[in-house]
Subunit: 146 residues, 2 copies
DNA sequence: TGTATACTCTACTAATATGATAGACATTAT
DNA sequence: ATAATGTCTATCATATTAGTAGAGTATACA
């Protein structure tokens, strides 16, 4: 798995929307400014995230984007898979693969599966609520330090 | 990390050479046939592996390729990094990265580090001798099954 | 009802990576 | 000599990535 710019933008966008969940809509302009993303590129990422059911939008003046679900309902892995494709390090361990006839015996396949499991285990056990909480902990710590 | 065809070819080639370690040279032709790789592409992969110090060669009639080191001295991760690039899932957790100024606080960075560690932990703890041994175990098992 | 603000949609483009292929050349055993 | 083998450089087609351009649609509000 390799996270592309698009994936990174998508994740940061959803995290930003998670921060404002149930509080306010966020415009593309704000998102782009806060995370330093090219606005026209971000537009497309947002449309894709919308098609994926991650975000919703309100058009017109005072419009903007907001999360389609509670941050706890969105796993990091969901976003990565949707935007950047499979977590698997190689095609032969992906779900629908059928090209290799020594699959049972292949010693490498076991390694790739191990990596796949280890990676999935991380990204599928982190929700955007978890990320939010960590951000809040950091903020509090910062306050105490002053 | 995503394994490309080139990476896959390289790994299978080294595994093949490991099987013949200290026994015989292996020609490009044999390697290509056994692992079903385009011979002209494999040529280039082999030259790259040679530059990387993984394999050596003997030219002319009865020439061929052989491993430059003992299979136990070659980690899977070495080959992957050399051929397919960084194990890290995103640039900001790579060694020489310096582009991000919130590195200390970034909650995502912790996730990427976790994935990096989990993945490295697999590929850096598997040598080609390990793979060889597993192949041999499978062969024995197969014999018993007959 | 006009207009500013915001999201929507399609098309296009430049750069790079990937997966090859082609062909001339160099080396070595016999 | 010659057949078998590795070496090297160039070229190519396709896909992916990252981004840009511009016209269109919806909405709040004066």
């Amino acid at each position: 798995m390799r996270i592309t710019y698009k994936g990174d933008y998508a994740i940061n966008t959803i995290l930003d929307l998670a921060v404002h969940y149930n509080k306010s809509l966020v415009t593309i302009h704000e998102l782009a400014r806060r995370s330093d993303m090219p606005i026209k590129f971000l537009e497309q990422v947002l449309l894709e995230l919308k098609r994926g059911g991650f975000v919703k939008s309100k058009r017109g003046k005072v419009g903007g984007y907001f999360l389609a679900k509670h941050p706890a309902q969105i796993k990091l892995g969901d976003v990565i898979r949707f935007i950047d494709g499979p977590i698997e390090p190689i095609a032969c361990v992906e779900k629908r693969y059928s090209g290799c006839n020594i699959i049972e015996r292949c010693v490498l396949r076991k390694i790739w599966q191990e990596i796949n499991l280890a990676t999935s285990n991380v990204v599928d056990n982190v929700t955007f609520e978890d990320l939010l909480n960590q951000i809040n902990v950091q903020k509090e710590t910062a306050v105490y330090q002053i």
